[in-house]
Amino acid sequence: MGFSELSLILGGPQGSGLETSMLVLSRALAYRGYGVVADREYYSNIVGRHSYIHMSISSKRTPRSLTYPVKLLVSMDAETVFTHFKDIESGGVLFYDKDVRAKKVTEIPSIEESLRSRIARDLKALGAGEDLESVLGVLRGRGVTTIGMSFQEILRDLMKTFGIDPRSLSRYVSGIITSSAALLLGLDREALKYGFERVFAARAKLVEQNVYVADSVWRELKSYEGLLRLDYPETEFSEVLVATGNDVVAIAKIVAGLRYQSYYPITPAADESFFLEKYEVSEVDGTIVGPIVVIQTEDEIAAINSAIGASLAGVRSSTATSGPGFDLMVEGISWAGMNEAPVVITYYQRGGPSTGLPTRGSQSDLLSSAFAAHGEFAKVVLSSGDHLDAFYDTVLAFNIAEKYQLPVIHLLDKFLANSTATIPLPDLGRVRIERGLKPVPPGTYKRFNLEALISPRAPLGTPGVIMWYTGDEHDEFGHISEEPENRVRMYSKRIEKLKLVDEEVPGDLKLRVYGDEGGDFCLIGWGSVKGVALDAVDEIAKRGFRGIYVDVKMLWPFPRRELLEVLRRSGFGNVVAVEHSYGVNIADLAAMAAGVQIRKRIAKFTGRPITLSELTQALEKTLTSDVDRVVISYGG
């Protein structure tokens, strides 16, 4: 018997090959039929700061959440051990570099001062010294197996055998840690080789050298093989996508028929545009897919406004950004609302205000996106709970934008953007491209025809047709008009389209209920808390509390009816909201839009993702006491 679920951390300095390790390991695991989700945590820094990958692996399905403590910590350096040693559960394993055993926590300049003194304090309390050797002692005392290897010896051997360039050492250090992790988890060398081949693709030499590293690791650690063996996989995958949230959204945009993407570089959004640039045009079986014009603009103002321009020319267009960039786009969104221009803004939240925690996640821009831009007009805000949802929701975002002729904000976050997962292939048979294009009526064309809430939309360049657009109030032709009667009709038209969205979009796409109603509680959230919320609901059931999770997918217009129905059925007591923010603002939005009072709130705003253990505890606390607000903060 092995483990059906297991979580681990791979840690090392930024740019030390950690990313490569994650790519290799996740592909090797997927190849053998395991489900994986891996979160990437890193500082806003190029060289030297600590970064790590927190991974959950399952033999049954794609894991939904991250959890502490972990079974395995694979470290590239001493800082990783100092930072995470407390996260290893007893019976777990630490893999480390023997050469840095003498390193003291006080000798590591890249550790932030407050963290360093906290670690020093913790070690003192444990009666341990400040060096890595002492930490190893503490761990062994707790029943953790510590396995060391000399990285220097392996690297030296590689330099002698292959004459490798010291500038590419990280490629091999990553080989050491992936190999040791694979060995401990009971993965075979062929699977590992598959991982190397997929990641290094055309670079055969790198594959050969990494296989050589794996052989050395296997020779040296033979006796530990399968120490943390995973169960034989029971997943039903035959093919899976291994991709990040950024990748999945970009893929979905290509499927949705995106033809124009503008962006100004910002973490964690830029990778999406990079991906699109890579796949900007392809030819398969004689069909051209694309082309997509991907343009790096001079700022976010140009990004949104050029995307709107492209939309006027009749193409599906979007931009991807994060908080600081979104703030600059707001005036453009107002113009798009005024001119009923379909456009999709993919908004990956990170920790604010201002540059805040630029590389960490958050859900703190809910209200800012729901209420962004001056004047009143219809705008839709969607969110997605996981990678696969994000795929379908991206297509939905374009369909809604075009059918109802309005801006759609797809509100995601850094957690999703940068986490890699094994994802079932989307079912394209389910996908429809709904453009809401109606034939242009004969006679003089009126872009803003008032006969219906949705006027026939003709692209600029339609033969024989001309039209005007303006940010000023306008008549049916698009010419400026300040006449009050026209104002009332036009203004109301633009707002009342939102009613159509509310009535026509299927309830299941607006709000989803997970679990059996009629239990003890209702947990409510949106976006990337979905996975951990579902796991927490399952987990707490083992402690005797039965409940549901309500995933609010359409944040604006708020699914008022749908939420009220759920709450009516499950009783209004014990509703708990959870969010990566201080305010847990979904509760306020629900109060405003649906008139429901949600007193109990679980908040996390450290920029690190909510983990299963802390959410389950917090949930239990809100259910068993009259504590209304729990702030959680686990993770380094």
């Binding site: 997927a30 190849y31 053998r32 997929r198 997943t235 899976v240 996508l241 291994v242 893929i251 499927v255 949705a256 033809r259 124009y260 796949y279 045009v281 392809s282 398969v284 079986d285 069909t287 051209i288 897919v289 694309g290 082309p291 997509i292 014009v293 343009i295 001079e298 700022d299 140009a302 406004n305 050029s306 709107i308 321009g309 492209a310 939309s311 006027l312 020319a313 193409v315 267009s317 005036e331 453009g332 292939l425 989307p426 079912d427 394209l428 996908v431 429809r432 692209p459 600029l460 360049g461 033969p463 024989g464 047709v465 001309i466 005007w468 657009y469 303006t470 940010g471 000023d472 010419h479």
Partner: protein, 317 residues
Amino acid sequence: MEGRGVSFKSDVWVDWCPGCGNYGILTAVFKAFAELKLDPSKTVIVSGIGCSGKLPHFVNVNGVHTLHGRAIPFATGIKLANPELTVVVHGGDGDLLGIGAGHFVALGRRNLDIVVILHNNGVYGLTKGQASPTLPLDAKTKALPKPNIQQAVNPIMLAVASGYTFVARSYAFEGEHLKNVIVDAVKHRGAAFVDILQPCVTFNDIFTSEYYRKRVYRLDKDPDWDPVVRKPEERISKMLKAIEKSAEWGERIPIGVFYVDSTVSTYEERLSSRLKVYPKVNPASSVIASEDLRPVVDDVKFKKIFSDLIVRVSKRV
């Protein structure tokens, strides 16, 4: 275009102040578009915000009246999405060189085939006469309580330095000259810039039509003036000449073409070297779904396109 005949004049009442230089510009636009025989449905005027920003409503071609300073980004999106369109930007000096200056520079760097027409009146007309980025230091127009303490930017110099490949100046009430410059600018392939000296009768009592009438002279009257770059080696010297010429201001103000360089690749060409099928197959002309609303990318194509990210599971036996 059906019904409307050859006139480019729309039905909208023109509401600029009587005597405003914008009237001269509008008339020149009508004439230039007629001479170019532009198809109104394939032509788009994109404007910013200001008195000048209203221009598209007066013209019977597609009009997109955007945000203050942002006409160039809108125009960029329109042109890239449908490269068959003729796209002309109209903006004020505050619009293009103040709030929108970053976009102005960026368009030069791209050399995208768009015409930018600057309504240069030295003031913020629509907000009642504050100093614009082209008003010289120490100038005190009548709406200003005190003399201007910011320096002026030279639009021609900025355009040349930014990479525009057609740079010219004309005067709003020099009708024939202005029309010809606009025609040449539209014909030029690449980013074209026209600086139009535009009297603002209401707020600018310094740069009046009387002021300009006395001072403007035509560059093309000088047989030695040759602004055209014929081979890349000439680029720097022609640029320097254009810049030097553009510094001439005061008693004599040159109008005409300052710089033309067709040896620089356009953004469309740069894009087509990457996208191959572009501009023939472009965002606006390409298909994204079938009649029955299914995406072009089906399950089979999906696996081919994204094979790099797909892992075929092979459990151990």
